[in-house]
C-alpha cells in the first residue's frame, strides 16, 4: 500500500511540474499597466442609491473621476437613509441625486452638521399621477383631475374595495396621495404597490393590454423612454400649499434634484469634490445614460464611457 502511495505522490509531482513548466502567463506579469496615476485625488466614496437615474449620474461621475482625475472610486450600493448615515462615519463622500428629503437635510445638515449641500444636478424631478399613453389618447380629458371621478369605476380592481384604484407606493418617496384623494373628494382608494418594480410592471401591462391604470410616478425615469406615461394635472402647486400634510389639495412641487456631500469631503480639497460640485446636466442627458443601462443593458461604466465620449465639452466644463 505504501508503494502505491509513493507512486501516486511521484505522479502528482510530475504532473505538477509539467503544468508549472508550460503554465502560461503568471499573475503579476502585467501589473505595470494597472497602477497608473493615483494622483492627489485618493479614494472617492460614492454612494449608489438603488434607482437607474441615480446610477446614471454616479456612473458618469465615477468614470470622469477615474479617468480624468485619477481617483480611486469606491462605489457603495446603499439605500438613501443609510447613505446619509455614512456621511457622519466617513464611509460616504457624496450622494449625487437627492429628491428633497427635508427630514434628512435637517437631521444631517442642520443638526449633526455632517453633510453639506453641493448644488443642483440640473435635473428637475417631477412627481405626480400618471396614466399610460393609450389611455391619455383614448380619453384625452382624463389628464385633468376634475374628470377623474367620471372614470373612477373603470379603475376598479380586486384591491380597491369598490372604488377606483390609485396605485401608489414606491416606499422611498413621500406621498400625499391619501390626503389628496380625500381633499379633492375623489372616488378612489390608494393601494400601495410597494416598490418601483411593481409600479413599472403595472404600467407596462396596462399599456400592452390596454388596461386602466392610474398611479404615482416620477421623472426623470428610464421607463419613460419605453412607455411615455402622461401626467395628470392636479391643482397647481403654490409655495406652502403642502405645509399641512392633512390638508394638501395641490400638486407636488417640482424638485430641484441636488447633490449632498459629507462635510469632511467638502473641506478635503479633493478634485473629486470640485467635480461633484460642478456636475450638472439635463433630464435628457440623464435619460440617455439611464436608457443605455436599463433598456440597452449596458454596464454602467460602458454607458458612462459612451456618453462622456459623445459629450466631451460638457465634461470638460466640470473639471476645468
Amino acid at each position: 500500500m505504501a508503494r502505491h502511495w509513493r507512486a501516486g505522490a511521484a505522479g502528482l509531482a510530475v504532473l505538477g511540474l509539467t503544468l508549472t513548466a508550460c503554465g502560461g502567463a503568471k499573475v503579476g506579469d502585467d501589473s505595470a499597466a494597472g497602477s497608473g496615476s493615483a494622483g492627489k485625488c485618493g479614494t472617492f466614496n460614492l454612494a449608489i442609491n438603488p434607482w437607474v437615474g441615480y446610477e446614471a449620474n454616479a456612473a458618469v461621475l465615477a468614470y470622469v473621476a477615474e479617468h480624468d482625475l485619477g481617483c480611486k472610486v469606491e462605489q457603495k450600493d446603499l439605500k438613501e437613509e443609510i447613505a446619509w448615515q455614512g456621511f457622519g462615519t466617513g464611509e460616504v463622500d457624496a450622494v449625487v441625486e437627492n429628491w428633497g428629503h427635508d427630514d434628512l437635510k435637517k437631521k444631517y445638515i442642520t443638526d449633526q452638521k455632517t453633510a453639506v449641500e453641493a448644488g443642483p444636478t440640473g435635473n428637475k424631478g417631477l412627481i405626480g399621477w400618471y396614466v399610460p399613453p393609450w389611455l391619455a389618447k383614448a380619453h384625452p380629458d382624463i389628464t385633468d383631475w376634475k374628470n377623474l371621478n367620471k372614470y373612477a369605476s373603470k379603475f376598479k380592481t380586486s384591491e380597491s374595495g369598490g372604488k377606483g384604484q390609485l396605485l401608489d407606493g414606491d416606499p422611498s418617496f413621500v406621498t400625499n396621495d391619501e390626503a389628496l384623494v380625500k381633499n379633492l373628494k375623489l372616488d378612489f382608494k390608494v393601494v400601495y404597490a410597494g416598490s418601483e418594480t411593481a409600479l413599472i410592471q403595472a404600467y407596462r401591462n396596462a399599456e400592452k393590454n390596454k388596461q386602466w391604470v392610474i398611479g404615482y410616478f416620477y421623472e426623470p425615469q428610464w421607463f419613460m423612454s419605453e412607455v411615455p406615461l402622461k401626467k395628470v394635472s392636479l391643482p397647481e402647486y403654490k409655495t406652502g400649499c403642502d405645509a399641512d400634510a392633512e390638508k394638501v389639495a395641490c400638486d407636488y412641487p417640482v424638485y430641484e434634484l441636488d447633490k449632498i456631500v459629507s462635510a469632511k469631503f467638502a473641506k478635503s480639497g479633493s478634485p473629486a469634490y470640485d467635480l461633484v460640485k460642478n456636475f450638472t446636466w439635463t433630464n435628457d442627458d440623464q435619460n440617455t445614460v439611464a436608457k443605455y443601462i436599463a433598456v440597452d443593458k449596458m454596464a454602467p461604466e460602458a454607458a458612462a464611457k459612451k456618453w462622456v465620449e459623445a459629450n466631451r465639452g460638457k465634461v470638460d466644463a466640470w473639471i476645468k
Binding site: H4, G28, E80, T89, E159, P171, T175, T197, R204
Partner: protein
C-alpha cells in the same frame, strides 16, 4: 432546507410509539364544535358591530410609540461618535469582523494589494471544494461540488459567487462561534433553553429590513454589518438543533457515564457531544441555508456578490440576469446542503465502521490534499488558473431563456391568472379580511384567545392573550389584521398543496426524487427573482404576495408531510390493503390520519414561512405590515412605525407558533 426534518421527529416519534386510541375521538369532535361555536358568535357580533373600534391607522400616521422609536434611533445616530460604548465596544467588534471577512475575501474573491486577482483562483477553489467535500462526505458529493462550482464560472458569475461564498462562510463562522456553545448550554439546562427560545423566535421572525439601518449605525457600512445581519438570522437554527441534539441523547447513556464517575466536563466531551454530532451537523447545514437566504438583503448595505447582481437587475426589471444570479445562489445552496448532509451521514457511519478501507483512507486523504495543494498553487501563480476562462456565455444563454419564458408566460397566461386571482380574492380573501379588519379589536382579540385556548390549551391561550395585548400596543392593529388575513389564506393554500404533493411524494420514491430538487430550488431562489414575472401575471395585489409566499413556504410543508406519510408503518398500510381498501381510502383513512402530527407541524412551519414573506409581499402590493416595514426602512420619519410593524410580525409569529405547537403535541399525544 430541511428545517422541518429535525422538528418532525419529535411529534412523529411519540405518534409511532402510541397509535391514536379510538377513545380519543370524542374530545376532537367536541373541540371542533367549540371552534365552530366561537366562529358563529364572532360572525354574529361582527354583523352587529361592523366598522366600530377597528383601530385603523393611515399609511402616514404615527402613534406616540412610533415617534419614540424614531427619537431613540436619532439620538443613537447623533451620539455615535462620542459614546464610549461605540468607541470601545462596537468599533472593536467591527474591526475584528472586518478583518476576518477581508481575509476570506482576499483569499478567494477580491484582488489584494499588489495582485490583480485573489490569492486562490478558480482552479484552486474548485480543487479545494472538491477535496473537502470528498474528505468530509463522499465522492458523489465531491463530484457534485466540482460540477456546481464550475457551473458558477460558466455562468459568468465566478467573482460574484466567491464574494457571496466569502460572506456566507464568514457569517456562518461567526454565527457558529456563538451558536454552538449556546446550543450546548441550552441543551443542558432547561432554564437557559426557556430564556433563549423567545430570543431565537425574535431573531428568526423579525424582518431584517427593520434592523438593517440600525446595524449600519452600530457597525458602519461594510462587511461587518452585512456579516452580523446574516449571522443574526442564521444562528437560531444551529442553536435550536444543537440543543435538541443534546437533549435527545438517551438519559440512560448519560446516567451510565455518571455512574462510572465521569465529571460533568467528561460527560459532555466524551458522551454528549460525540453522540449528538450528526444532528449538530444538520444544524450547521440549516445555518448555512439561512445565511444564503440573506444574500439579497445584505446587498442593500453594500455587501458584494450575487445579491447585488439580483438587486441591480431588478431596478431595470431584467428578469433574465436576476434569474441567472438567483440560479447561482441555488447551485451554491444545493452544493453546500448536500455536502453538509453527507458530512452528517459520515459522522454517523464513521463511528461504527471498522473496515480495512479506513487504513487506506488516511493515505488517500493525504494524496487528495497534495492534489488540492498543487491546484491551489497553480491558481495562485498562473492567470489561466486564477481567472475563470471564457465570457460566461452559458450565463447569457440562461438569462435569455429565462426572459423568453417569462415573456411567453406574461403574453399567454395573464388572462387566466387574472381570473383565478379575482375568484380567490373576492371569494376568500376579501370576506375574511373584512371580518378581521372591520370587527372591533376586542372581538377579534377575544376570538383569537378563545381559539388559541381551545386548540392549544390554557398555556397557548395565555400566550395569545399576551400577544394580542402587545399587538394593540404596537399601534398597527388594523394592518396586522390585514396581514393576518393574507397569511391565513396563504397558509390554507400551502397546506392544500402540501397535502396533495406531500402524499404523492410520500407514496412514491420516484416522485420524491423528481420533485425534491425543485422544492429545494424554490426555497433558496431569492424571491426578488420571481417577483417581476408574478407582478406581470397577477398585478400589484395582495394575491401576488400570497403566491410568492406559497412558492417559498409550500416546499417545507410538502417535505414534512411526505416524511410523515412515509413514516406510517408499511404493515399498517398492507393490513388496510388486505381488507380491501382502495388507494383513496388508504390515503384518507390511514395515511393522513396517522401522520396527523406531521400535518400539524407542516401547518406550523408553513405559517412561519409565510410570515417571513410578509415583507416581500409588501414590495408587490400586499400593503399592511409588509409595506410599513419597507417604508420604515426607506423613510426616516417612518422608521418607528416600521419597527412597530416588525414587532407585530414577530408577535403574530409567536402566537401561531405556540398555538400550533401545542396543538401538535396534543395530536401526537
Amino acid at each position: 432546507m430541511t428545517v422541518a426534518v429535525q422538528k418532525t421527529q419529535r411529534p412523529q416519534r411519540t405518534g409511532n410509539e402510541e397509535p391514536p386510541a379510538p377513545a380519543r375521538r370524542a374530545p376532537t369532535v367536541s373541540r371542533s364544535m367549540i371552534v365552530a361555536a366561537i366562529l358563529v358568535v364572532w360572525l354574529v357580533l361582527f354583523a352587529v358591530l361592523r366598522g366600530k373600534q377597528t383601530l385603523s391607522l393611515a399609511a402616514a400616521d404615527l402613534t406616540d410609540l412610533h415617534r419614540w422609536f424614531n427619537d431613540v434611533n436619532d439620538s443613537i445616530g447623533a451620539n455615535r461618535n462620542s459614546n464610549p460604548l461605540f468607541l470601545y465596544f462596537f468599533n472593536e467588534i467591527r474591526l475584528v469582523i472586518d478583518t476576518l471577512v477581508t481575509f476570506v475575501q482576499e483569499l478567494i474573491s477580491q484582488p489584494t494589494a499588489g495582485r490583480p486577482v485573489p490569492q486562490i483562483g478558480w482552479l484552486g477553489v474548485v480543487g479545494l471544494v472538491g477535496y473537502v467535500s470528498w474528505a468530509v462526505g463522499n465522492w458523489r458529493v465531491a463530484l457534485l461540488a466540482v460540477a456546481g462550482f464550475t457551473f458558477l464560472g460558466l455562468q459568468g458569475l465566478w467573482q460574484e459567487s466567491m464574494d457571496t461564498l466569502a460572506l456566507t462562510l464568514s457569517a456562518v463562522f461567526v454565527a457558529l462561534l456563538f451558536a454552538l456553545p449556546l446550543g450546548v448550554w441550552a441543551g443542558l439546562s432547561d432554564r437557559v433553553n426557556r430564556i433563549v427560545t423567545p430570543f431565537l423566535d425574535f431573531m428568526q421572525t423579525m424582518p431584517t429590513f427593520v434592523y438593517l439601518a440600525p446595524l449600519t449605525l452600530f457597525f458602519l457600512i461594510g462587511p461587518a454589518s452585512a456579516t452580523i445581519a446574516t449571522a443574526i438570522y442564521a444562528a437560531p437554527p444551529a442553536i435550536r438543533i444543537t440543543a435538541h441534539a443534546i437533549r435527545s441523547v438517551p438519559e440512560t447513556t448519560v446516567e451510565a457515564a455518571d455512574s462510572m464517575g465521569a465529571t460533568r466536563r467528561q460527560a459532555l466531551l466524551k458522551v454528549l457531544l460525540p453522540m449528538s454530532k450528526r444532528t449538530v451537523v444538520m444544524g450547521v447545514n440549516q445555518t448555512i441555508m439561512a445565511a444564503l437566504a440573506m444574500v439579497t438583503i445584505a446587498a442593500l448595505i453594500n455587501a458584494p456578490g450575487l445579491g447585488a447582481t439580483v438587486v441591480q437587475a431588478l431596478q431595470s426589471l431584467d428578469v433574465g440576469t436576476a434569474f441567472n444570479a438567483g440560479l447561482a445562489i441555488v447551485v451554491l445552496a444545493i452544493v453546500l446542503d448536500r455536502v453538509t448532509t453527507a458530512a452528517s451521514g459520515r459522522a454517523d457511519t464513521a463511528r461504527g465502521s471498522d473496515s480495512p478501507f479506513l487504513k487506506w483512507r488516511r493515505q488517500l486523504v493525504a494524496a487528495g490534499g497534495v492534489v488540492a495543494a498543487v491546484l491551489v498553487y497553480l491558481s495562485h501563480t498562473y492567470l489561466w488558473a486564477a481567472e475563470f476562462p471564457g465570457e460566461g456565455s452559458t450565463g447569457s444563454t440562461i438569462a435569455r431563456a429565462a426572459t423568453d419564458v417569462t415573456t411567453w408566460a406574461q403574453d399567454n397566461l395573464s388572462g387566466l391568472t387574472n381570473a383565478f386571482r379575482d375568484v380567490l380574492t373576492n371569494g376568500l380573501l376579501n370576506p375574511f379580511q373584512t371580518l378581521l379588519t372591520d370587527s372591533p379589536w376586542w372581538l377579534v382579540g377575544a376570538a383569537l384567545v378563545a381559539l388559541g385556548t381551545v386548540l392549544g390549551g390554557w398555556r397557548a391561550g395565555a400566550t395569545s392573550a399576551v400577544c394580542v395585548g402587545l399587538l394593540i400596543g404596537t399601534g398597527v392593529w388594523s394592518d396586522a389584521m390585514t396581514t393576518l388575513a393574507s397569511t391565513a389564506v396563504a397558509t390554507v393554500l400551502v397546506m392544500l398543496l402540501g397535502v396533495v404533493l406531500g402524499v404523492w411524494m410520500g407514496r412514491s420514491a420516484l416522485v420524491d426524487r423528481l420533485l425534491r430538487p425543485s422544492l429545494d430550488a424554490a426555497q433558496v431562489m431569492p424571491p426578488f427573482v420571481y417577483l417581476v414575472p408574478f407582478l406581470a401575471l397577477f398585478g400589484a395585489t395582495r394575491f401576488t404576495a400570497i403566491v410568492a409566499a406559497i412558492v417559498y413556504a409550500a416546499p417545507v410543508a410538502i417535505k414534512i408531510i411526505a416524511d410523515g406519510v412515509r413514516a406510517v408503518p408499511g404493515t399498517t398500510v398492507e393490513a388496510a390493503m388486505s381488507t380491501g381498501c382502495n388507494t383513496w381510502q388508504i390515503i384518507t383513512k390511514v395515511q393522513l390520519p396517522m401522520s396527523r402530527g406531521a400535518l400539524t407541524l407542516a401547518t406550523n412551519q408553513g405559517l412561519i414561512y409565510v410570515l417571513s414573506m410578509v415583507v416581500v409581499g409588501g414590495l408587490v402590493g400586499a400593503g399592511a405590515l409588509g409595506y410599513d416595514v419597507v417604508a420604515g426602512f426607506s423613510q426616516g420619519q417612518l422608521y418607528g412605525k416600521g419597527l412597530a410593524a416588525g414587532l407585530a410580525i414577530v408577535l403574530l409569529g409567536v402566537m401561531f407558533d405556540r398555538i400550533t405547537q401545542a396543538a401538535a403535541r396534543r395530536a401526537g399525544a
